[in-house]
């Protein structure tokens, strides 16, 4: 009546054993058994990522661990080059005598229209923001549309108009594009891809790997607005709340920050995976610890309430107009003042700092007074949100 152990478990155990044989001797001074186990886990986490699933699942698109594994194991492996390897929001390139930033992003949000914005506005702002947080001045965008047979022209007109308005607000132009139509049922109304280039005309060098112990970590405003808005806009949850997407172009805000504090170490816009994912990228790429205080993290009461009801943590919820900045500790006040001087940064606040220990780990001091880890999410149990 008992069957054999399924094959995948045997495989996982074999890999685990192989790894153990090659792990080498443990550190000489062993504090306790729990610490030994923690070190073993740490080594396992540093292993080369591998996609174990046979098919793509929704987790691969959720922005957490599964997404990261997919990117590193498949795309980075296939395209590996020094420009791609940093895996920042935009690649930094030298063309002729000029330095430019190049980025691309696809938008599959559902519903297409939601409180505070629509897919068109998102497609412009998202790509503008990826350029801006790379220190570039966004200039030109491309736009590619995949449309489903039967999609209302009136909706497309509305989306195009809002892209126009967003481009004007961000001070950029859409200069090339593409259109494809697929059969009914082969897409969900309208998908948009945008790519963008920007000029790197500031003398700054940014990257999450540059974070150093003592640096301050700042967010530019309340987090989680976009993600919660989308979840509620789907109408599946029967919750009503007065929230709207925070979608906005961040290039003006970034310019103000870099003018005041050219020594900014890194910036990221907190989209899919939320602020927690960015903090983990910082900890991982700079081999530092990150310590944040729950009380310092701005979250609107409506968003907190909805997240509480849904059992999700706002730290993992997407924003579309918020950035996380790492700045030298002694310049935190100046950075904060620069952000707060801009309408999009009025509620900016310092949420934590970079520490030497423990490397690669993000810790949260909870409002209740305890401490816990903030890890990457494995996958998002809720449908796609950006």
């Amino acid at each position: 009546m008992t069957t054999q152990q399924p094959g995948w478990i045997e495989k996982a155990l074999r890999e685990h054993d192989e790894h153990h044989e090659h792990a080498g001797p443990a550190a000489p001074a062993i504090p306790d058994r729990e610490q030994q186990v923690l070190d073993r886990i740490d080594r396992a986490r540093r292993r080369r990522p591998k996609v174990r699933e046979e098919r793509i699942t929704m987790s691969h698109g959720a922005g957490g661990k599964a997404t990261q594994t997919l990117i590193e194991a498949i795309f980075l492996d296939a395209f590996r080059n020094p420009l791609l390897e940093p895996l920042e929001d935009a690649a930094v390139l030298a063309v002729g005598g000029a330095r430019i930033a190049l980025t691309t992003d696809s938008y599959v949000v559902s519903p297409l229209f939601f409180p505070g914005g629509d897919i068109g506005e998102l497609a412009i702002n998202g790509t503008v923001n990826d350029l801006a947080v790379s220190g570039a001045r966004p200039l030109y965008l491309s736009a590619g549309f995949i449309l489903e047979e039967g999609f209302p022209v009136a909706d497309l007109t509305r989306i195009a108009a809002s892209m126009h308005d967003a481009a004007a607000a961000a001070g950029i132009q859409v200069v090339t594009g593409d259109t494809k139509v697929v059969q009914r049922g082969k897409a969900d109304g309208c998908y948009i891809n945008t790519a963008g280039v920007g000029a790197l005309d500031r003398d700054v060098s940014l990257g999450t790997a540059r974070a150093r112990p003592g640096d301050a970590i700042i967010v530019s405003g309340p987090i989680g607005d976009h993600g919660v808005t989308i979840m509620l806009a789907r109408g599946e949850l029967d919750i009503e709340a007065d929230v709207q997407s925070d979608t906005a172009p961040l290039n003006g805000l970034v310019a103000g920050l870099l003018d005041a504090v050219p020594a900014v170490r890194a910036m990221r816009d907190a989209t899919r995976g939320g602020v927690a994912t960015i903090l983990n990228e910082i900890a991982r790429s700079a081999e530092v610890g990150v310590l944040v205080a729950e009380e310092g993290i701005p979250v609107r009461p409506e968003v907190r309430g909805a997240a509480e009801l849904l059992g999700i943590d706002p730290m993992y919820v997407a924003c579309e107009g918020r950035l996380v900045a790492v700045v030298p500790g002694d310049q935190a006040d100046r950075a904060l003042a620069a952000l707060r001087a801009h309408p999009l940064g009025v509620h900016a606040s310092v949420i934590g700092q970079v520490t030497a220990e423990p490397p690669g780990i993000v810790q949260l001091k909870t409002a209740f007074g305890g401490t816990r880890i903030v890890d990457l999410l494995v996958g998002d149990p809720l449908p796609r949100i950006c």
Binding site: P31, R52, L291, T355, P358, K365, F368, G370, R372, I373
Partner: protein, 378 residues
């Protein structure tokens, strides 16, 4: 946030922590089990263990609905879902539970129609909208979720809905607690009782624990202060050499439970002679099946269910973790072969599972962390 922040007040927590520490007798070690996975989640999410003296150990119990589902049952569900014209509906945290051949998520990616629902009633909506399909709800959970499944069955009966059924995996908490109490390898001092289960069954069913086993039980709420206060109440009983059932969660839990909820469960479901629990083995009278009167909504009768029993993977020590004999990190494969991305055991799947909670929130050395936090204080 109103009615939430009050229960997360750090000042009150400090005061309670001091009172708890004062009750610890020198040289004595205390092992308290929180039965419910929701409590485990709260403890880790808020870092509650930071408030407890080293002599108090919290042992994480079997009350995580997803964690106790044996692998064979997942395989049965997948076989059900793969039959023609079936739409399987399931709660979100069931989606990643591994069977012999992957999880619901993997099956969904391979083309099986499995949909996530927030309430069993949503399954009825899907059934009405798809008259040509057969909708099967994967029912899991303790007495907490059983009433909503029961209501859904009754609603389907009232509507005479021909294409809806339930694959019933509901379990009951008391036999599991009794199995743990009778387990020879564990010495517990008291129980933090499950709050939401008790909303339905009340506090009386726990009386045998205090009376026959001499262990105090405090039914607790789910905010961190609720749990801390319950620990204080347990410690107070222990210091006075008493064992009684107390209700800390009186704002929600009536002493005699919810008679309406109990009635609808009794109306639609009956106890199975026995049921297999992940890691705990077969426990008699520990699970519910759909009653004969509602047989037309019982997926186990309507479909061919293989009913294959799959051995728990040998390396996986979920059973020991569920019984509280092992701490998550003491399992051989914890965090290396078994991680939240590729869970081998169920405890690593649900955010309420002890292993997942420890891995995601508590994977750190308390001493080192405290030092780092002190150094890092602005």
């Amino acid at each position: 946030m109103k009615f939430v922040d009050e229960f997360r007040d750090a000042d009150k927590a400090h005061a309670l922590a001091a009172k708890i520490a004062a009750l610890c007798e020198p040289g004595r070690q205390y092992k308290l089990m929180e039965v419910c996975g929701g409590h485990t989640h709260t403890i880790y999410k808020h870092g509650l263990e930071d408030y407890l003296p080293e002599s108090i150990t919290l042992v994480h119990g079997p009350g995580c609905p997803v964690c106790v589902i044996p692998m064979g049952r997942v395989d049965d569900a997948m076989a059900l879902a793969a039959q023609p014209d079936v739409i399987m509906t399931s709660f979100g945290d069931m989606m990643r539970v591994p069977g012999s051949n992957g999880s619901f998520f993997d099956a969904k990616a391979a083309g099986t129609d499995i949909r996530m629902v927030y309430s069993p009633l949503d399954s009825l909506k899907i059934a009405r909208a798809n008259p040509g399909k057969r909708v099967v709800f994967m029912a899991i959970g303790f007495e907490t979720t059983a009433p909503s499944t029961a209501m859904t069955i009754m609603r389907a009966a009232a509507e005479n809905l021909p294409n809806f059924s339930v694959f019933c995996n509901h379990v009951t908490i008391i036999p599991a607690i009794k199995a743990i109490l009778d387990s020879p390898d564990l010495r517990l001092d008291g129980f933090v009782g499950p709050g939401h289960v008790s909303t339905v069954i009340g506090c009386r069913p726990y009386e045998f624990i205090a009376r026959d086993y001499g262990k105090p039980v405090v039914v607790a709420g789910f905010e961190p202060l609720d749990i801390l206060q319950s620990i204080y109440m347990l410690m107070l009983q222990l210091s006075e050499r008493r064992s009684a059932v107390q209700n800390q969660y009186s704002r929600v839990v009536p002493w005699d439970g919810n008679s309406t909820a109990l009635r609808v469960i009794g109306e639609t479901m009956e106890l199975r002679p026995y049921f297999e629990w992940r890691g705990l083995g077969f426990i008699s009278h520990s699970a519910l099946a759909v009653r004969e009167e509602y047989a037309r909504f019982d997926a186990e009768l309507l479909f061919k269910v293989p009913g294959v029993r799959v051995a728990d993977p040998k390396a996986c020590q979920c059973g020991e973790v569920l019984k509280g004999v092992l701490k998550p990190w003491e399992c051989k494969v914890f965090g290396t072969a078994c991680t939240p991305e590729t869970p081998i055991g169920t405890c690593m799947v649900s955010p309420e599972g002890a292993c997942a909670a420890y891995y995601n929130y508590g994977r750190m050395n308390r001493h080192r962390v405290t030092e780092a936090a002190e150094v890092g204080r602005p």
